[in-house]
């Protein structure tokens, strides 16, 4: 863990202003987001929690620049954010190391430099010694670690995560929470993290935003003032997660 240098300054803020997005046309038109406004401060860790259909993934796609908003503006300070999906989405023909090198090569870093960088990042996510394995030779948790290393390789100081640990078992997820928190503490990138799981949100975030469903807007906000590093078993953490869960259930009931 010690190889990662401290960043002198935190990541760029994310501003989402009055953003609307709809899919389909005419009578089939469905609004996924309607005038959504939110802000993630520089180096802040924000978790976005909401029921299915609240437009969380739509929002991340918009912030990542994969899709265009119908209305409103999104500002990430001109940097291209890194995005991690629920699936690792590794290139199956590339070794772990080559996968991590891919964004470096796309940024035209030269061979020797990008190799050293990829090795460093893999060691950082606990995969030293696995550089030459192919994705199908790794476990689900290891693949997601490679994806995390690859996202870090993009050297974006804005990191978007779309339920990245949802498909993992509880123990692996817990490990990855710890690693992500350590990375974030040292690097202070701006993180917008989407999850279904209120406990995961409280485990990681400075602030938890609840999205109401159909169409999405911020319905509630919770500040998490728990000391770091945190533990998922922490009692205060559980109390806050329960409160968030209750609010979320009310929202879903009202929405129907």
């Amino acid at each position: 863990m010690s190889v990662l240098p401290l960043r002198p300054q935190p990541g760029h803020p994310i501003s989402v202003d009055g953003v609307s997005k709809a899919f389909g046309r005419g009578r089939d038109r469905v609004a996924a987001l309607n005038g959504l406004t939110l802000r993630v401060g520089p180096g802040e860790f924000v978790c976005l929690v909401g029921a299915s259909g609240s437009g969380k993934s739509t929002l991340l796609n918009l912030v990542a620049g994969l899709d265009r908003a119908g209305q409103g503006t999104i500002d990430t300070g001109g940097v291209r954010p890194a995005l991690m999906f629920q699936e690792p989405a590794l290139m199956p023909w590339l070794t772990a190391q080559q996968n991590v090198e891919l964004p470096l090569r796309l940024r035209r870093l030269t061979g020797g430099h990008s190799r050293a960088e990829a090795e460093r990042l893999l060691a950082l996510v606990g995969l030293g010694g696995f550089e030459r394995r192919l994705p199908h030779e790794l476990s689900g948790g290891m693949r997601q670690r490679v994806a995390l290393a690859r996202a870090l390789a993009q050297d974006a100081d804005v990191l978007l995560m779309d339920e990245p640990f949802a498909a993992l078992d509880a123990i692996t997820r817990d490990d990855l929470h710890t690693e992500l928190e350590q990375l974030w503490l040292r690097r202070r990138m701006t993180v917008l993290f989407v999850t279904h799981n209120a406990r995961e949100a409280v485990r990681l975030a400075d602030r938890v935003l609840l999205l109401s469903s159909r169409p999405g807007r911020v319905a509630a906000e919770f500040h998490v003032n728990l000391p770091r590093p945190r533990r998922i078993e922490n009692a205060d953490l559980g109390v806050l997660a329960a409160r968030i869960g209750d609010t979320l259930r009310e929202l879903v009931r009202d929405g129907d």
Binding site: L66, L83, E87, A89, M91, W93, L102, L106, P135
Partner: protein, 282 residues
């Protein structure tokens, strides 16, 4: 329990496990070879049985022994290698040209919606058209020439190669393309780093199929387009028939079969290697 643990940790036992999962090369080779050898032996036996039944006289349908010894004789003659060389060179030239044209066509089709609508189904149609049906036209256009043969070989193989590339790129998991865009790949770099490598297993399937079409078209061409001064595998089949030389005819056919199988096997090995690397096969 302690013994079990020791056994599990023991280096020699691990290597035994390893040996079972990865048997030595000669044993794997033998496992893959003996069923083929048995099939060949059965085939030769059936052939011999037909000859022994007296259905056709020896000079029309010779037995395997006569044909194989003839093959051995020919394998020591220069003319045979000249013929093999001519046919081989035509195959390589035709297939290479088909590779270039087929890949370019495939790339053009996947990158343009209009072009796909225009020629997508035509490509599939071309693939199912027997390439020998092109020969009369080829001969009209190019005369009795190398160009006529190459023309038909390319028409036989290129659609399969193009279709392999097209279906390969169509089947690239959308998530990989999404990741490519997140990492900043656009246009050409998205093709180079994501779409093309992801399409490689399917493309290779197209190559293998293209080779089969090319080889068929080539032999058909050599039977129809006889270039007087050049010996080829196809021309030798014709001569053997004209001379009533059944042994030579069957020996020639065996060579055609063996060359086709050999190249197909090479494609098979390479294709399996790719599929294994891509995690699509054990």
């Amino acid at each position: 329990m302690a013994t079990e643990l020791r056994l599990l940790a023991g280096k020699s036992d691990l290597s035994t496990l390893d040996r079972e999962r990865h048997p030595p090369a000669w044993r794997r080779g033998w496992r893959a070879t003996w069923p083929r050898l048995a099939a060949v032996a059965l085939l030769l036996a059936a052939w011999q049985a037909v000859v022994l039944s007296g259905w056709e006289p020896d000079y029309l349908l010779p037995g395997p022994a006569a044909v194989l010894s003839r093959l051995g004789e020919e394998a020591r003659s220069g003319v045979f290698y000249q013929a093999l060389g001519t046919t081989g060179a035509r195959a390589v030239a035709g297939f290479t040209l088909a590779l270039v044209i087929g890949s370019a066509t495939g790339l053009a089709v996947v990158s343009s919606g209009t072009l796909r609508t225009a020629v997508g189904s035509l490509l599939t149609g071309l693939q199912s058209m027997p390439s020998i049906a092109w020969f009369p036209l080829a001969i009209l256009l190019f005369g009795l020439s190398e160009a006529a043969i190459t023309f038909v070989v390319v028409l036989g193989a290129a659609p399969a190669i193009a279709n392999g590339l097209i279906s390969g790129i169509d089947q690239v998991p959308p998530l990989l393309l999404r990741y490519g865009r997140v990492a900043g790949a656009r246009g050409l770099s998205l093709y180079r780093h994501v779409a093309l490598p992801a399409a490689l297993p399917s493309f290779f399937g197209g190559l293998k199929q293209g080779w089969a079409f090319a080889w068929r078209s080539l032999l058909a061409g050599e039977l129809l387009v006889m270039l007087g001064n050049r010996s080829s595998l196809g021309a030798r089949l014709n001569f053997a028939r004209e001379l009533g030389d059944s042994e030579g005819l069957l020996a020639g056919m065996l060579v055609v079969l063996l060359v086709g199988m050999l190249v197909d096997a090479l494609f098979g090995v390479a294709g399996r290697g790719i599929r294994r690397r891509w995690g699509l096969a054990e």
